[in-house]
Symmetry: C2
Subunit: 147 residues, 2 copies
Amino acid sequence: MAQTLHNFHFEDLLTRHHLKKTAPRLRVLSMMSSRNTATSQPDLESVMNDIDRVTLYRILSAFEEKGIIHKVFDLNGTANYALCTSNCDEGHHHDEHLHFNCTNCKNVYCLNDMQLPAINLPAGFEPQAFTLYASGLCPKCSKKAVK
Amino acid sequence: MAQTLHNFHFEDLLTRHHLKKTAPRLRVLSMMSSRNTATSQPDLESVMNDIDRVTLYRILSAFEEKGIIHKVFDLNGTANYALCTSNCDEGHHHDEHLHFNCTNCKNVYCLNDMQLPAINLPAGFEPQAFTLYASGLCPKCSKKAVK
DNA sequence: GTTTAAACGCAACAATATTACAATTAACTA
DNA sequence: TAGTTAATTGTAATATTGTTGCGTTTAAAC
C-alpha cells in the first residue's frame, strides 16, 4: 500500500516473528510495502541485485512461513509476493482474497476487500483454502486502452 | 476421464485443428484422457521419456493455443495440463471452472460442473477471465486421512 | 511416387530454484 | 561492553524448468 510504513514497524514485525532484524529483510519489507501490487521474483531480484539470490529465496520462504507475505503465481506461472494484510499466523494463511492479474502491465493486485462467495464442492472434497484469480485490464491499463 | 476414448477420436481432433497426426501427439492426448486429474509437466516428461523434452513443450503449447488443453499452475507453481471439456476455440478458452489442488497427493482436479458465482470488481478493473482455485484434501486422500 | 511444409530431435542456452558449507553478524549473556 | 552462539548471509555447485536455432524426418497434399 502507498501508506508510509516506517522501519521500526518492520523491525517490530520481525521480532514478533522471532526473526533477526537484518538489512536484507528490512529492505524486502520496505520495497513490498511501497507498492500497491505484488512483486514478482524477477523484479525483486533485479531491484535488490546486491543481495544474493539465495538469500532472497530464503527471506521469501521464511516470510511466507511466518505469515508475513503470501505467494501468488501469475498467469505465466511467475511467483509474485505481497504482504499479508490481516492476521496470518505461522503456517496458516488467510489470504482468500481476489488476485487480479493485468494482461497488459502484468501486475498482480491483491483485492483484499473482495470476499469470496461460498462455494460448495462435490462430495468428498475437503477444501481448506480458496483463491480466486481474475485476469484482464487493471484501472491504469484500461484507461490507456480507450485512447 | 476414465471413459475409453479411442485413437480415431484423437486423430479426428487433430485434423479438425489442422495439426498433423503424429505419434507423440496421439500419446499425449491418450495419456491425458486416461486420467481424471490434470497432468503435471514433470509427470508428462517422465512417462514420455522417449519423447524429446522440447517436442513435449511444443506439443503442449500447440494444443493450448488450439484450445485442446488448458494449463493450470498448482500451489507450487508447477504447470499442469488437462483436456478442455467444452468448446474452447483457438485463442479463446472457456475453462472458468474450479481447480482443486490436493495438498496431499498434489493432484489437480478440474471440477467442470462448478460454475463460478458472479463477481463484482472495484471500479476500473476490466476482467476478461476468472479462475477459482481450491486446495485441501481430495476424496481419496480425505478417506485415507480418517484412518 | 514426389514435393513440401510441418513436426521432430538434438544441442546449446537462459531462467528459476535448491543444497551444502564456510563466513558473518544480530542477539543474548556475563 | 566484550564474548559466545545460533541465525543469517554469501558463495559455489547443481537441479529443474523452459526457450531458441537448426538440421533431419515425416505426414499430407498433389
